[in-house]
Structures are given as structure tokens and as C-alpha cells.
Amino acid sequence: MMRALVGLLAGLLMTTAVWAAIETYQFDSPDQEVRFRQLGLELRCPKCQNQAIGDSDAPISKDLRAEVHRLLLEGATDQEIKAFMVARYGRYVLYRPPLDRQTVYLWVGPGLFLALGIGLVAYRIRLSKRALMQETPS
């Protein structure tokens, strides 16, 4: 019984090897490989909303990784590669969209909500302080 359980657990451990995308890309320099990884994290998989192409197993992600690799070897800059992807898949593919009229809420929204929250808390504290002052006879 115990042995079967251990065997099962060991088997489960091995399955992780299947998840990881195994691809071998050749690079001209270690710097290129770093950029490849970075772009893999910043470009979004068009088919799977919340995954970057670097950690997605979708066929389209595989194609896009190959395309990024090809462009890198051709000497394209990161900006050029991103522009290439945006021209085809729209700004949806960028995990860090540029700040402009359309994305302004995306960028300043969290800050606005934070300021609103801090303001609300500060207001409540002032109110309760005042109430406290009135209760305590001076």
C-alpha cells in the first residue's frame, strides 16, 4: 500500500517535465537569449488571455516564439519586434501598453483608487478623532 502510494507520488513528480515547453533555440550571444526570455514575458499569447507567449503551450505561442527568435537573429531591436507583433495582433499582445489616450485609465486607474482609499480613510480618522474630542471633557 505504502509502496504504491510512494510510486504514485513519484509518478506525479515526473509529470512536471511534461508541462514545461522544451524548445532549443540557438542564439548568437547570451545577451540575445536574455532579450528572448524578456520578450517572451512581455508579449501576450493571442489565444490564451492571461499567459505570456513565454509560458504558454498554445501552438500560436510557439509560432510567435519562433518569430521572435527569427527577428532577434536578424538583428531587430526589441522595439521593432514589438511593433511587428502589434501590427499583426494589435496592442492586445503588449503586457506593457504605451501610455496614451486609450490606455490612460489602465495606467492611472490604480493610483486614483489608491488616492481615493487613502482619502476615505483619512476622512474617517478625522471624523472619529473629532467625535472622541467631543466626548472627553476638557
Binding site: 493571442p46 489565444k47 509560432d63 499583426r88
Partner: protein
């Protein structure tokens, strides 16, 4: 002031209700195509059956549909009857996407062939230039060869009325 605050939960509910109601009819998978308003990208692909070289010059004069399909794609089979019906009045170009030639040929032989032109894109290069994320996808091209709409997923009556009919109503051009 205090009395006004009583209305706050209702107001918040109202705002959330508007957003959630809108969310009901939004498809989070639908993305606007980056190619709307542009002409088809240049390409060089083989014809599915003969292997002859085809380029963008071989495309029909519009309006027409460019349907991205593959024999491994289940939804392509689902939309196939409707697409066949459409093809009687509107030319449909087939872009066979990341498929195997014999599998694709068998698929057409079995289910019928609605296409006026067969592009064989086994590497997915034109698919990539079109921003295709997966099959099926259908592009609506107007009389001047400009992409006017993109349908991700099944082409059906609803997609026709929402995406294709407006382009045709505009005389296939704008």
C-alpha cells in the same frame, strides 16, 4: 447628509449592474483585428491541389471572404454548411492553415468545397501576417481589397448580420 448616504449602496449596485449587464454580451476572447482598414498582406503560397504559386494578385476582386480553416479544426466543420450556403452568393477564399495537404484535400472531398481559391499555408506565415490566433477566422474584404471586418470563430447568421452584411450593404466598398 446622513440620509443621502443611505442611497449609496443602491447607487453602487446600479453602477455594477450596468457593468455586469454589458459584460453579459461582451466576448473576452474577441479582439479587434489590427488589420481592419488595410489591404491583405503580400504573400506567396502554394495552391492546395496543384502546388502552383499564388500571390495576392490571384485573389478575386471583392467583396469576398477569406476563411482560415484546417482539417484539424472542429469549429470549421460546424461552420462549413453555412459557409457553403454563403459561397453561392459571395466568393470565399480558403486559407488552409497549418494543415497537411492530403488531410485537407480529403476534408474538402468529404464535406464539399465552397472555396473559389485554395491557399495552402502549412507554416502559418500568412496566418501570422494576418494576426490569426487560431482557426476558424474569417476576414471580410471589400470591393477595393481592404479588410473591413474579422470574425473569430464560427461564421453563422449572427456573424453575417453583424460583420458581413454591413460591408455588403455599403456596396462592398466605402
Amino acid at each position: 447628509m446622513r440620509r443621502m448616504l443611505l442611497w449609496l449602496p443602491l447607487a453602487i449596485f446600479g453602477i455594477l449592474a450596468v457593468f455586469f449587464f454589458r459584460g453579459l454580451s461582451l466576448d473576452p476572447n474577441a479582439q479587434p483585428s489590427a488589420l481592419i482598414g488595410r489591404t491583405l498582406p503580400a504573400f506567396q503560397l502554394m495552391e492546395l491541389h496543384t502546388g502552383a504559386m499564388l500571390t495576392e494578385a490571384d485573389l478575386p476582386s471583392g467583396p469576398y471572404l477569406l476563411n482560415v480553416w484546417a482539417s484539424w479544426c472542429i469549429t470549421c466543420q460546424v461552420e462549413h454548411p453555412y459557409l457553403t450556403e454563403l459561397s453561392k452568393t459571395l466568393p470565399v477564399v480558403g486559407l488552409n492553415y497549418k494543415d497537411q495537404r492530403t488531410a485537407a484535400q480529403n476534408w474538402l472531398a468529404k464535406l464539399g468545397d465552397p472555396y473559389v481559391l485554395h491557399l495552402f499555408d502549412d507554416s502559418g506565415q500568412l496566418g501570422l501576417d494576418l494576426g490569426v490566433a487560431g482557426a476558424p477566422e474569417t476576414f471580410v474584404v471589400d470591393a477595393s481589397g481592404v479588410i473591413r471586418a474579422r470574425i473569430q470563430g464560427e461564421v453563422n447568421v449572427r456573424a453575417f448580420e453583424r460583420e458581413i452584411a454591413p460591408v455588403l450593404a455599403a456596396g462592398g466598398s466605402r
